[in-house]
């Protein structure tokens, strides 16, 4: 019996490890909404906010004001959800932040922006989506 478990254990571990390794970085057991928002983030937001959501996007080389680090749990926790939504929809200037953050309402729907706010709270691990 013990012998069998000893045999089985490495196999189970190897299988688990293989499954974990096989997942792309953005995938996982996420909800379809989170996955969809992550894809939109990659398309539109990551150019400035970074492929790792850390505010270090490829475009920051040209920015006089650095973009927000969405992985910053403490910094993001102080950001009200409605302010996030307004910044995405109307641009940084609408919430007294940098005008370098443009308004995305021409590209994203209201629902996608709501979902993005949920996604940001997921990324920063700083609150439950409401």
């Amino acid at each position: 019996m013990t012998y069998r478990v000893a045999l089985l254990l490495p196999a189970v571990l190897a299988l688990g490890g293989a499954l974990i390794l096989h997942q792309p970085a953005s995938a996982g057991a996420e909800s379809p909404k989170i996955t969809a928002s992550a894809h939109l983030y990659d398309t539109y937001c990551a150019q400035c906010h970074g492929v790792q959501r850390n505010g270090k996007g490829v475009n920051t080389i040209g920015l006089s004001v650095q973009p927000r680090d969405h992985s910053d749990t403490v910094g993001m926790a102080s950001l009200p959800r409605d302010q996030m939504i307004r910044a995405i929809k109307e641009g940084g200037a609408a919430v007294n932040k940098s005008a370098l953050m443009p308004a995305w309402s021409s590209v994203l729907t209201d629902q996608q922006i709501e979902d993005m706010a949920d996604y940001l709270q997921h990324v920063c691990k700083c609150g439950q989506p409401t």
Binding site: L40, T43, Q47, G50, Q52, K56, N59, G62
Partner: protein, 236 residues
């Protein structure tokens, strides 16, 4: 008894045939021009307006759209570029695919960006002439940009700090963001009326493109266009 069935069947066939047709109303000149463009170009570039633009299309297309090339490019530049195609987009066609995380910031893996094939002078001229026939319906208004009285210094300020175009576009080699096409030779490359129309509403050209529509006044658009149209012209 069988007649209604037959009608229904032929109706369905007609509907399917109609649905399978390509996008309607390509101007005759454009249709003729497309026939002059090799299939190898069309394998990467959309030569007709996509019927259903999607985010996914932007991730899978291999080259920028050319269905409005005639609205966009200056002939002289196009003929020359096709013979010596230097990269226009520092981040590639879709920047994310070439981005890699890093410190102090993410970078573009330039080695992974595919190079555009070059053609000889005769082919370049023929291709340019065909491409310049490709125009969108009402995308640009000819003569909308008024070069007289444009303040280039104000335009440069708009491009930089005020409107943040430089976040994504380079106005000098190596200076500015990399997710959008470089603009340091835009004066040679692009028609000013196109620059103005695209800047005013990028979503009119592609709803899902990652350049958002800013709220810009007409004077703003004029001075931005004036600045962009001046770039790269000093060597002429």
């Amino acid at each position: 008894m069988r007649l209604p069935l037959l009608f229904a069947a032929s109706g369905a066939i007609a509907a399917l045939t109609f649905a399978a047709r390509p996008a309607p109303a390509e101007p005759a000149a454009a249709t003729g021009a497309i026939a002059d463009i090799p299939a190898s170009c069309a394998s990467c570039h959309a030569l007709t307006k996509p019927e259903t633009p999607t985010v996914e299309r932007l991730w899978t297309r291999k080259g920028p759209d050319l269905w409005y090339a005639g609205d966009k490019f200056n002939r002289e530049w196009l003929v020359s570029w096709l013979q010596n195609p230097a990269p226009i987009r520092p981040g590639g066609v879709m920047w994310f695919k070439h981005a890699k995380p890093g410190e102090p910031r993410d970078t573009i893996d330039t080695a992974s960006i595919e190079k555009h094939p070059a053609v000889d002078a005769a082919t370049a001229t023929k291709l340019a002439d065909a491409l310049l026939h490709l125009k969108g319906e009402g995308l640009i208004v000819e003569g909308e940009f008024k070069p007289e009285g444009v303040n280039l210094t104000m335009g440069q300020m708009s491009f930089g700090k005020l409107r943040g175009c430089v976040s994504c576009h380079q106005d000098k080699p190596g200076q500015g963001g990399v997710s959008g096409p470089q603009l340091h030779d835009a004066g040679k490359r692009l028609k000013p009326d196109y620059v103005l129309a695209y800047t005013r509403d990028p979503q009119k050209f592609d709803h899902f493109i990652w350049m958002p529509r800013l709220t810009l006044s007409d004077p703003d658009l004029q001075r931005l266009t004036g600045y962009i149209a001046s770039l790269g012209k000093e060597n002429k």
